[in-house]
Amino acid sequence: MEKFILKYFTLIRTLIAILVGVIISIVLIYLISKTPAYSLKQFLLGPILSKSRLANVFENASPIIFCGVAIAIAFQAKQFNVGAEGALFLSAAIGTAFAVSTHMPALPHVILILVVAGLTGAAWGWIPGVLKAKWGASELVSSLMMNYVAYFLGLYLINSHFRDKSAGFLVSLPLPKTAWLPQIIPGTRIHVGIILAVIFALLGYYFLYHTTTGYEIRTTGNNDKFARFGGINVVKVVILSQVISGMIAGFGGMTEVMGIHHRFNWQNSPGYGWDGVIVAIIGRNHPILIIFAALFLSYLRVGSQVLNLMADVPSELVAVIQAIIIILITAEAFLSQWKYKITMKQASLEEAGNESIA
């Protein structure tokens, strides 16, 4: 048992953090709600009690998976590039602009739009990457700034050049039907995007753990001096990790427009990039775990919306819980005392075993 705990310590620690978060939320619901049992049921079971809500969980998870994988690839190289939000926003805007101004059959159209969006995102990741790799400028600050630039640039493009003036609010022209991503489950809005998201997560996993470049990214992230001495081109790795990150975020933004809204309708930044940071932390930068983390986060979100709608507890409960979960996961000293004790106990046991053999 204790050996098991040591082997899977980080995973167990993550699960405990999640558990603490869920327990705190249950306590909060009991403190606030006048009908706690009913509220709790809405929160925990709400998403699976109706088909449309369950579908919501998967719809919402799709862009979060994209952004989570995007952030994870940069984080694995220890690049704190939080520019997924900006890459997603601008890629969706430029992709939309391209989609409404071109006409071609469905399949090539969809592919070309995704290529445009992906390239936009890649370019957006390239800038902080180069600034960091060549001159050591903080990618955190530059990517934060790039988020704002992307936001204003995207809004300018849509509101000034591709705005649908017949619509009563600020949205882009509708995407032609050829640019829509098909739905896969009738009666819901679940579209091909979720399959693409999972495919990209799997590709991301293969890339990080089964290719040379992936190995170089992880080595650079673990110790860039060691990587340099080991002959890894750290400059290339730092740039590449952020380019790939931006590209995947770009796909995420565009699939959301092509699959759900069918036009660009964001006047505020949608926040998927920050959700990506959350799931990357919960999933410990592992693309496959990120799929589950995104589904978990999405489930919590939908549950909280049900809670907000049906009971007397605001949905921001989730923001509080996810913050607690994240801070516990990132706090490396959290439970380290426990691990230390088990390790010591194991060691003394082994020692005793060795002596008895001797």
Partner: protein, 329 residues
């Protein structure tokens, strides 16, 4: 004169710049003080929200402006303290911990707002007292200068006074010296007996203090209520302002003024049907360029020092290094 130019050369516009600058300059000083101690603090967004919220809550329930001030400051400093605790004691990465804190502050304040007002709508807000506006005796009667510089909320003057305060704190006090020592070389600081972690804690608490004033200004000066996510990214803009200002007091004053100018300008031209997005983008672009230039300069300096190390023996190095830094000054 066109209406645009007329409004820009009005005193009202000058007044607006200082007004918009205040909630950027204060958190920018907060970002800078922790940056100088070597910790990147991106939690100013959360710090400001917490202060803005607790100031308003206390003002609603006690009706006392002094208690509100105290509550806001406590909330901001405490949030800085929580960040310090998780980062230095529990060894969390400071960036990720700050992201979590921002998220927490946003969720927590909306959550509490709902409990106090019972309103789930996005427009829910809580009314509040405001800090007084100050008419400066002689200045107010001077034409042009008077309408621009007099009659501001007291927090605007606190922000302006915070600049020399920051200078004195960082460059003229033992604490400031320690903060800079820890930021520049923690190992060297430790070797002369400075408790590195304690200094970093002080810097993060100070960071919370500056942020607290910024947050209080937002809810109890800029407007007179608390509404959800009312910081609207100013905590991040503050990072841009402190970067652009090179973490130096006057530099940050000018960069915050630039952000104040651009944002006021964007508000003014929004009514004239000119796309304001491109104008609003400019300060961020300038920040990225400045960031790149700073980094480039730093690296070139380092390269020259490294070359000096290769070329000369140990005893001449120090004099060469001295020459180079003298030339850079």
């Amino acid at each position: 004169m066109s209406p645009l130019l007329k409004s820009i050369f009005s005193t009202g516009f000058g007044f607006a710049i200082l007004r918009v600058m205040t909630p950027i300059l204060l958190p920018a000083l907060g970002v800078a003080i922790s940056e100088l101690a070597g910790s990147v603090n991106i939690a100013l967004e959360g710090i400001m929200l917490m202060s803005a919220f607790f100031g308003v809550i206390v003002s609603t329930f006690t009706g006392s402006i002094w208690l509100s001030l105290l509550a806001g400051i406590t909330a901001g400093v405490a949030t800085g303290g929580i960040l310090a605790y998780f980062h230095l004691k529990l060894k969390a990465d400071i960036i990720l911990a700050a992201i979590a804190l921002n998220m927490f502050a946003s969720g927590f304040t909306i959550f509490m707002l709902y409990l106090f007002t019972g309103d789930k709508g996005s427009t829910s807000s809580l009314k509040s007292l405001v800090f007084p506006e100050i008419q400066i005796p002689i200045l107010k009667s001077i034409p042009v200068l008077g309408p621009i510089f007099s009659g501001h909320n007291i927090m605007t003057y606190i922000a302006l006074l915070a600049v020399p305060f920051f200078y004195v704190l960082v460059f003229k006090t033992p604490l400031g010296l320690r903060i800079r020592a820890v930021g520049q070389n923690p190992n060297a600081a430790e070797s002369v007996g400075i408790n590195v972690n304690r200094i970093k804690v002080y810097a993060l608490l100070l960071s919370g203090l500056f942020g607290a004033f910024g947050g209080l200004y937002l809810s109890m000066g800029y407007v007179s209520w608390f509404s959800r996510d009312m910081t609207a990214g100013r905590g991040f803009i503050a990072i841009a302002a402190s970067t652009l200002g090179g973490n130096m007091p006057m530099g940050m004053f000018w960069s915050s003024l630039l952000f104040g100018f651009v944002n006021s300008f964007a508000i003014y031209i929004a009514s004239l049907d000119i796309p304001s997005e491109l104008i609003q983008m400019i300060p961020y672009l300038i920040t990225i360029i400045a960031l790149a230039l700073f980094a480039m300069r730093k690296q070139m300096k380092k390269k020259r020092v490294d070359e000096a190390h290769e070329l000369y023996s140990e005893d001449v190095i120090s004099s060469v290094v001295k020459d180079i830094s003298a030339a850079d000054e």
